[in-house]
Subunit: 462 residues, 2 copies
């Protein structure tokens, strides 16, 4: 691993942080960033730097990096692009190992001169540089948070094992915000923008070696080095799933990507081939990227035989359609399972798969059916559809599903579609590691990708 890649430790787990351009003025970037770091209860030293002020937000403010009374590990830049190379040089001399440049105004607007100047300094000192033109980093475990969006507008995820590397700050913040909403945890997040010296491949390599990261999300518009990306994906994806969304596929989108981060979006089919070769999991939309997030928290299924348990007949039919469209199989239930299902249905009830336990069913029927399905060797995965709106259900259904999932015998995916009450129930499921979806096809697509990756891993082992 290159020295500057190793130094990403100073970005994600800094012992101390300098905020270059710290400001007492509400709304200014250097104010929001410093405030968020303090509000996140970052445990190390924090050094505001700005020649204009002696104190910022109650902290002593240094006029320049050289004058900082201590040794900052990470420097966050919230100053105009033109000024950054000189200050970076000072940072290098001071022993700074990680840098995040939030500011725009580099290669993406044609300033290749600034790019070159900055890159040379960063390389000389082996600084791990995130950016420029980015949203920076988030590490809930170490309370590092450079996302300059207010907490009340953008939720922050809890500590978890998903790491996300994204070229686009906007796309990144959307996923982070949704994850926070549904209680899904993150290990690390980084929006790398132009990726001047450290690109997606470097960060994926770092996450590949990071013990807290169990799966990697990737949002990518273009790369400067496709071969390097393929190689690192091949290496890492064998141990940790890489779920990738490539944007800038068509001509118009590709042009937009170029002016966004100054990276060529390139030929999409080449990317697609690389994902396939590395067996990385390619998704096709922002929604699908989010849908995959929690799916990969489940234990891998042994095969593609799925049991669908539902209290709403139509939702079962739609799920069966989605399974058939994705070449998944409806499991054949064992005689023991059929017996249990018969015992919980009214005398006239039909036992099939989807198992329609009808809307009169309460939590007890769900519990019995789930126990039977967990014990049934012909069932690899269970999709549980819950019409939380049904009068017969109360919140104990949440315990029952979470308890079944906690046995970690088989993956359990849930589908629940509705408004306020249903969304609050879905949040509980996701918070406890049971993925929930608001359309049957979303659950099935995520399950298909998860099943395929599981089968790739088990073939590797053989």
């Amino acid at each position: 691993m290159r020295e500057d890649v190793k130094n990403l430790k100073s970005v994600f787990e800094p012992s101390s942080i300098a905020v270059i351009g710290a400001s007492p003025t509400t709304g200014k970037l250097g104010n929001v960033v410093l405030k968020n770091i303090l509000d996140s209860n970052f445990e190390g030293k924090v050094y505001p730097v700005n020649p204009k002020y002696q104190n910022v937000l109650g902290l002593k403010c240094a006029p320049d990096v050289h004058s900082i009374d201590g040794k900052p590990d990470l420097a966050i830049f919230a100053i105009p692009a033109e000024l950054i190379p000189d200050v970076m040089e000072q940072c290098g001399k001071k022993g700074v190992k990680g840098a995040i440049v939030l500011s725009a105004g580099f290669g993406e607007i044609g300033r290749k001169d600034l790019d070159q100047k900055l890159a040379a300094i960063v390389r000389k000192y082996k600084i791990a540089l995130i950016g420029p033109n980015c949203l920076g980093a988030l590490n809930p475990a170490n309370r590092v948070d450079t996302l300059f969006f207010p907490f009340y507008k953008l939720g922050r995820p809890r500590i978890g094992d998903i790491s996300f590397v994204t070229q686009s700050g906007a796309v990144g913040s959307c996923i982070v915000d949704m994850a926070a909403y549904f209680g899904i945890g993150f290990a690390k997040f980084v929006s790398y923008g132009n990726g001047l010296t450290l690109d997606e491949s470097d960060i994926i390599e770092y996450f590949g070696a990071d013990e807290h990261t169990k799966q990697i999300l990737l949002y990518l518009e273009g790369t400067k080095d496709g071969r390097k990306l393929l190689e690192v994906m091949k290496k890492v994806n064998k141990r940790k799933p890489i779920i990738a969304l490539k944007a800038g596929k068509g001509a118009g989108a590709s042009k937009a990507a170029m002016s966004h981060t100054g990276n060529l979006a390139g030929n999409y089919t080449a990317y697609q081939a690389a994902f396939r070769q590395a067996k990385a999991i390619e998704v096709n939309s922002l929604a699908e990227l989010f849908h995959a997030v929690n799916a990969f928290s489940q234990p891998f299924p042994k095969g593609n035989r799925v049991a669908v348990l539902t209290d709403g007949g139509g939702l079962g039919v739609l799920t069966a359609d989605a399974l058939e469209a994705e070449s998944m199989r409806l499991a054949e239930l064992s005689p023991a399972t059929v017996k249990v299902i018969k015992s919980i249905l009214p005398p006239y009830g039909n036992v099939g798969n989807p198992i329609d336990i009808i809307a009169d069913s309460g939590p007890d029927q769900y519990r019995k059916a789930l126990d039977a399905l967990l014990a049934d060797d012909g069932v690899d995965t269970i999709i549980v559809i819950v019409l939380f709106q049904a009068p017969a259900l109360d919140s104990s259904i949440l315990d029952i599903i979470v308890t079944a999932s906690d046995q970690r015998k088989k993956p359990i995916f849930t589908v629940a579609v509705g408004g306020e009450y249903t969304n609050e129930s879905r949040k509980v499921l996701d918070r406890y590691g049971v993925p929930s979806y608001d359309s049957p096809d979303f659950a099935v697509k995520a399950l298909k990708r998860f099943t395929d990756y599981g089968s790739f891993l088990s073939k590797k082992k053989k």
Copy 2:
């Protein structure tokens, strides 16, 4: 129109309602239904019927239909299937014109004998029968609500112009609940279950003639009469868009559909051909059905040239990808528009389409850009992407978008992805008739269907 179809007026706009099987016991179907009707402030007379009680929920309870002191217009059945034919006969004699049979236990479990008996009576008296085995009807304008799900679990939509005919109560309630959550209004809703004497075609015909209905949603598993469905769709879809979701496409799903409402799901390609021939709008998932709901509230675009306005670069790139995938065009901006965009961007900003006004942009930049795009003859539709999380935005952006949409010059679709704060903002947009989506491809797919239908309509006129 057949007499019993005309009598659907008694289902949706009854002057009075009898609840057969009304009960004082909390949780019983006959209790929930009566309670919901009273809680909805239904303005006509309500007659509980049950030989076991003299009073239910403060109302005088009749022992049988014959003894009701008045003439009920609509009868709602919450009693066992076996008892229903005899009571229906009484209803016929009493002059009841509409009936909703919520109870299951008919053809879907093989009781063809009960089906025949009930159908004969209903036909004799020309009663408009909804069901059996259904969730019944909802008409917010007339405060008719037979959905037996508690209000706190299932939101009820406000008064609007969308009518929904669904075979599945579960699928119906999911859409109703989501619509309520996002503040989207409904004209009428009906879950018709087994569709014994009135089927989807009859109800579509009725909605086609209903002055309050501007668009029709259809969820269908199987029909008994495909030719009739095609004919009614061809007739109605010329004036009001029919947005259809067909479930039970594959073999396994088709079997599940059969045991659900006793209807053969049939050959999917035949349905698909019928939708195409009628130019009805076919969607492929529950999510897509909901995504179409608000799209069709917009004024029709003149063509397929789309401008994308965004404060998040990556979201713009993803939207451009989705547009290209759906064969929509990125509009070429007029010199006047380019001038306006240049004036609101920093000096180094790139003017393209997607128009990336970057995350520093506030409401004023959005307003100026929107005004320019509304005036630009080269732009047919505007997709506005809002990163509500961005520090520079406040809630006035909502006014700006709603005001632009209210001019009804061009369709405006919005994309906003995130958690709590973003969802609350999306609700405001949808509530005011601006469709919002939480993935760029969702917006584009809905727009594509809407644009195609608009072009079909304008060709019809020529």
